[in-house]
Symmetry: C2
């Protein structure tokens, strides 16, 4: 099956593209490379250095004999999207090609506007391209668990059945996004859902939790295939950032009380979840939502786990509670469902000491590249 | 109180600006005039000819001695928004300044993108301007009843209390918008709600029904103050369009079965609702949602009413059921609440024979200007 991975040069996208290629899918990557540009703009860098996308793909080809097509361009440019669809003829599109950082979207007005226009227009263009050029193509879109916020009731997968004044309906789950980035994902969901209703498109929205880890079978094959690992205050996410902090003796930066609970998953499960969605497409007209995470942790839980794993490796790990740069509840109910991907056959890699060891060792290996002043949050929500 | 009416040259905006000015508010209008440009582009025109915004305001000043400040510019340009905020110093912003037609947004990809970028970026800019330049300013934003779609349960005003698995929370009401335009309004609601939560802004989202009528006390004062009346397939809305059709002996165009039920209100109530929202601002941090309509009608009900009123005036009025250009339920449950504006003091003008007579007579007066080929829908949802 021909699968176009948009954003295939990024953290989740790169791992996914190789994983799918390794499993026999005919993979193309479409990426604007703007993520590398933002690193330059913000003066940040992935912890392990990464090769150019061209070098990456050449090495992959040399190692495995498998060719991944490369299209460099921006999906907010519809001419380009049309050209890629006509050339590659995707049967499935995996869409990671969005600005994906909440702090980035909160830097200032320009970054909020950039995030929403980029994400919403890119996705709209894909919907139109599928409708016009590949109407049976399955759109696998990355959403986020952050669309739901932290409601005081159980979080279902995309929809909730509501009984109200003696009547009943199953409706889209209410959204309470926590940044302009998270809003953009809700905006996308509305457009995709609508396109499925009116045009009969088939789509799966993967509301993903926080991804951790860096190594997958494929990215571990060669130094030139190594994946990016972000630890900075803009693109770094909780667990990965904690491991980097532990490696250089920086206190773990817990924002506020640390009772914020979120869904998490190993990047090896991300790639498998994408494959499960691709291999089991939505029906025509169906807008399917899966919650893509494997475990719930509070930020304090995670800090404690990293502290423990670090100590076992002889690292001295302190935990610092910083004033929270975000506006969010720091103690709250959180119970999200995640059975749909399990039902399709996901066998989770639960967070283990072995994973933490591996992450910590990668961080230690590259500790000389760590820029300590990039670790603290520099974007305030208020 | 200083009230900035964005989109103050449009159908609802013009009537509102004059009404507020007449009630003693210090009114400024900010408008890009793009609505007039779209008329030119699409080859359509308001039924009664309208004067230029400058002539309108000069005449208003001459008649009443009241001066309305005019700012011509596009709110997607943040420099302009800042200049207007600094010059006018609004205490309340009434935001009609969006692309407001569902069919327009469904013409093609370009119009879908234009609608969402225009509406979302304009509103984001206002949120940032309020935060940075006028943090206590009250945003009164026009939403639409169409954000809710047609759920099989009662529609509440913005929020719904959900009991689920033994727990309870009050959450944003689930949205099922029916066009890319309606999606844009939901996208705005998400951004405004978020800005209220993190920055403590005060906002009222008025989910308005379908507005009918054209005459208000102020726009009726002089030929140069006359309001626009759209009857074409793009910007025309149900009741106004039916009256125009009746006036020229064109069959009333009911889309599909006609069981589509919606909230409606007289434009004289629109202006009063805006005043009620302005005069009773939301609290700091509050995102308040009012459903702004006075009665529920099905499209077939309306057609029958126009038929009856037309016959009384000696017009021969037929009703045609066209294939529905939209994708929507044509028979459905619909029960929406609208008590919040009534509680604030709204005394509705319910749909009456007198109103229909007046609308029909206006349509008859301008019948020579009617371009019959603009009446039929030319935009298909599928």
């Amino acid at each position: 099956m021909k699968v176009l991975v948009i954003g295939g040069d990024g953290y989740c996208g790169w791992a996914t593209a190789l994983y799918l290629a390794n499993r026999g899918y005919d993979v193309g990557i479409l990426d604007s490379l703007v993520r590398r540009h933002w690193d330059n703009e913000l003066g940040i860098a992935t912890l392990p250095p990464i090769a150019s996308i061209q070098q990456r793909l050449d090495r992959w080809h040399a190692l495995t004999g498998k060719k991944i097509d490369l299209f460099i361009g921006d999906i907010t440019n519809y001419d380009l999207v049309q050209r890629v669809f006509t050339t590659f003829e995707p049967e499935s599109v995996v869409h990671f090609g969005e600005q994906r950082s909440a702090p980035f979207s909160m830097i200032d007005r320009e970054h909020a506007v950039l995030t929403q226009v980029n994400n919403v227009v890119g996705t709209l263009n894909l919907l139109y391209a599928i409708k016009e050029l590949a109407p049976t193509c399955h759109l696998v879109k990355l959403g986020t668990m952050g669309e739901y916020g932290t409601p005081n009731i159980d979080i279902e997968e995309g929809y909730i059945t509501i009984e109200h004044n003696g009547r009943k309906d199953t409706l889209p789950y209410p959204k309470q996004p926590g940044s302009y980035y998270h809003v953009s994902k809700c905006q996308d969901s509305l457009n995709i859902h609508f396109a499925c209703r009116i045009w009969g498109l088939r789509a799966t929205d993967l509301n993903q939790g926080v991804v951790y880890g860096v190594l997958t079978e494929e990215t571990g094959m060669d130094e030139l295939l190594v994946n990016r690992l972000d630890y900075d205050g803009i693109f770094g996410t909780a667990l990965n950032r904690f491991c980097v902090q532990a490696a250089i003796g920086h206190p773990l930066t817990v924002y506020g009380k640390g009772g914020q609970t979120r869904g998490f998953l190993d990047i090896r499960d991300t790639v498998r979840c994408i494959e499960l969605a691709v291999a089991n497409p939505a029906d025509a007209g169906q807008f399917r939502v899966f919650n893509q995470f494997t475990e719930l942790f509070s930020v304090s839980d995670l800090a404690a786990k990293v502290q423990e794993a670090g100590r076992a490796l002889g690292l001295k790990v302190e935990v610092n509670h910083l004033p929270n740069p975000r506006v969010e509840l720091e103690e709250h109910y959180f119970n999200a469902k995640n059975t749909k991907l399990l039902d399709l056959g996901l066998h989770p890699h639960f967070l283990s000491e072995a994973l933490l060891d591996s992450l910590l060792n990668i961080a230690i290996k590259y500790r000389d590249r760590i820029d300590a002043k990039e670790i603290l949050p520099r974007v305030q929500w208020r």
